[in-house]
């Protein structure tokens, strides 16, 4: 099993790095390839089972786009083949048509999805999140300088119970196509959502996924889930 972690030196804000660190503990036999920004992604020339991108700054988002432009058809091919893509934080915005800066300038995206992103700098949006992926309850947190618009309902990842979706008002969150999952939720997303982690492990071929520190991770999830269902403040 081969998992490529793209640009970990820049896609690592807000604790996102912990996702693959934890995943490595759950999948001790898997090969994790960490590709720096100065190198070409492995998935362009070889088969991988999963690709992970973590949160990054706005300038690094543009840096990533400059690296991946021209490889849209290969990325599409992998998505169609069912390769898992997990994108946390703002990185999934690169999959859309464009990202609009506050001054109106538009940066071309990869155009794999039809949505567009709009930056709101210096206005930052912070919100807790409670939602669903199928019947699975998902908890998390978003903190960002942008929103995504015009995401087709069939292309969305999560439904929103409480908190911000892809925009403040949106009732869906993130993007999904086949096994590509992109979410504004950031930080230790896989650690905070053990059920989703187990789901990904199954997708990767683990028949009976064994989560590392299962009791503790489930306990932390349950405490958070119970708290999120109470009447706490979700967004300022």
């Amino acid at each position: 099993m081969k998992i490529e972690v793209l640009y970990p030196e820049i896609c690592c804000l807000f604790g996102d790095k912990a996702n693959m660190r934890y995943f490595e503990m759950c999948l001790p036999d898997a090969e994790f390839i960490k590709t720096p920004v100065s190198e070409m992604p492995h998935f362009l020339t070889e088969d991988v089972d999963m690709v992970y991108f973590g949160s990054c700054s706005e300038s690094n988002q543009e840096r990533i786009l400059s690296r991946l432009k021209g490889y849209e058809s290969r990325i599409n091919e992998l998505i169609e083949k069912g390769v898992i893509f997990l994108m946390t934080g703002n990185t999934f915005e690169i999959m859309g048509k464009y990202i609009e800066k506050p001054d109106g300038e538009k940066i071309d995206g990869l155009g794999i999805f039809d949505f567009y992103a709009k930056r709101t700098i210096p206005k930052r949006y912070n919100s807790l999140f409670l939602g669903k992926f199928g019947e699975m309850e998902i908890v998390g947190y978003t903190s960002r300088f942008s929103h995504c618009y015009d995401i087709d309902e069939n292309d969305s990842f999560l439904t929103v119970t409480k908190g911000y979706g892809s925009t403040v008002e949106a009732r869906t969150e993130g993007i999904r196509r086949n096994n590509l999952f992109g979410t504004y939720l950031l930080g230790p997303f896989l650690i905070q959502n053990p059920m989703f982690t187990a789901f990904l492990m199954k997708k990767l071929g683990c028949k009976d996924p064994e989560l590392a520190f299962k009791n503790d991770i489930v306990k932390a999830y349950e405490v958070r889930l119970a708290q999120f269902k109470t009447d706490i403040v979700f967004a300022e």
Binding site: F14, S38, R63, L128, P188
Partner: protein, 462 residues
Amino acid sequence: MGRLRYFIALWAAKLVFVLLRLLKRNATMYPGYIALKICPDYLARTRKSPNVLCVTGTNGKTTTTNMVADILSQSGMKVVSNRYGSNINTGVATALTHSVSVFGKPKIDALVLEVDERFSRLILPFIKPDYLVVTNLFRDSIKRNAHPEYIFSILDTYVPESTKLILNADCLQSSQLLKNNQRVYFGIDKLDTDVTECVNLINDFSICPVCDEKLKFNYLRYHHIGNAYCPKCGFKSYEANYRLTNIDYDNKTITVEQNGAASVYPMINRALYNIYNELAAISLMSEFGVDLEKVKEYMRKISVTQTRYKEDKAGKTEIVRTMAKGQNSVSCSRTLDFVGHENGARTVFIMIDDLFERRDSSEFIGWIYDADFEFLNTPDVKQIVLAGPRCFDYKLRLLIAGIPEERILCEEDEFKAVDIMDKDIDKLYLLHDTSTYDLACKVEEKIKTVFTEAYKSKGGEQ
């Protein structure tokens, strides 16, 4: 009209200050808030004292500002500082109110201000500091500060061109600020403990800003603090004008070299991050023209404020209460590094939940995965007590750091945690957040009582 409005704002702020003090209330922010409400350009309109010295950056602002204010006060200057108050625009407006008479005339010699780096755009263009120290730029609260590049862009845009900068040559991020301003750099020479590959979880300046190549480090201290160069394009760290060439932990001194001349100063605190703060203060004082021989004398009378660091004893146990700022992974890592590398058997009591967020919301705990809890994974750390509502998240974090479960005590109630923790230990480090300072003081009192009783019950004398 604007002038009249300014004076109404000034008088209102002074009156509000007096009233709040009569009511024994903290009057460090509200007078400035009133002034800015009445006169939005209050900061720009207030006549400045002859010298305006500011300190900003992610970590070390308060300690550095306090040192500078103490040194100048000891030198006989009349100083106003926001040391007990807010470092945002309202706190600065309050400090400015104190710096002028009722007629708006400056009545002090120097204004020494700690300036919040994110709020600097609302402050620095209007008060136009003569000198600005930028201690460093790191990740901080995700909600407020987003990421270091964002804060860099604010400072790079809003610091006036006339301001002379005192920058940290070892901070690859902040040393790149405002290349057209006059500047001097301070830095610490290679230390025995330095490395060339990052051991921390995060390094926000690992690739060359010019060509994206991975940077090489002549020495790396922590995170992106060190001396680097690009093997491809020649980009490199700046040379320091004020070089700390020796740290003598036995004699508690530091040696600072400038233009080839070395001077020995008393070491105010042995934590490396506080040595950086002291070096920043010395560099600023030198640039400002204070007699450095006098600075040495003044430094002997300075200590790090007890809200940040305090040593005490209960029974046989030495107790160190120290701040580990929550939601600030680097500040927290610095404290974890310090505690992890101390000597002897010890317990670490961690209560760094955000007290304000836990009242009516839930803290984002992603930052704890950027903080180096791995430093606590040493056999000398006998027990780690995790106290507060997020203790289950912290326990998971410690397990992922490889810390054996039997060394972890997880308890939501801080006071109950004191009752059930091990008492037979030589040293205890109590780590708290800014927001849990008052709570930590109460927990510390309980620790002292309980530990003293436990010691006495075993036949020990206090």
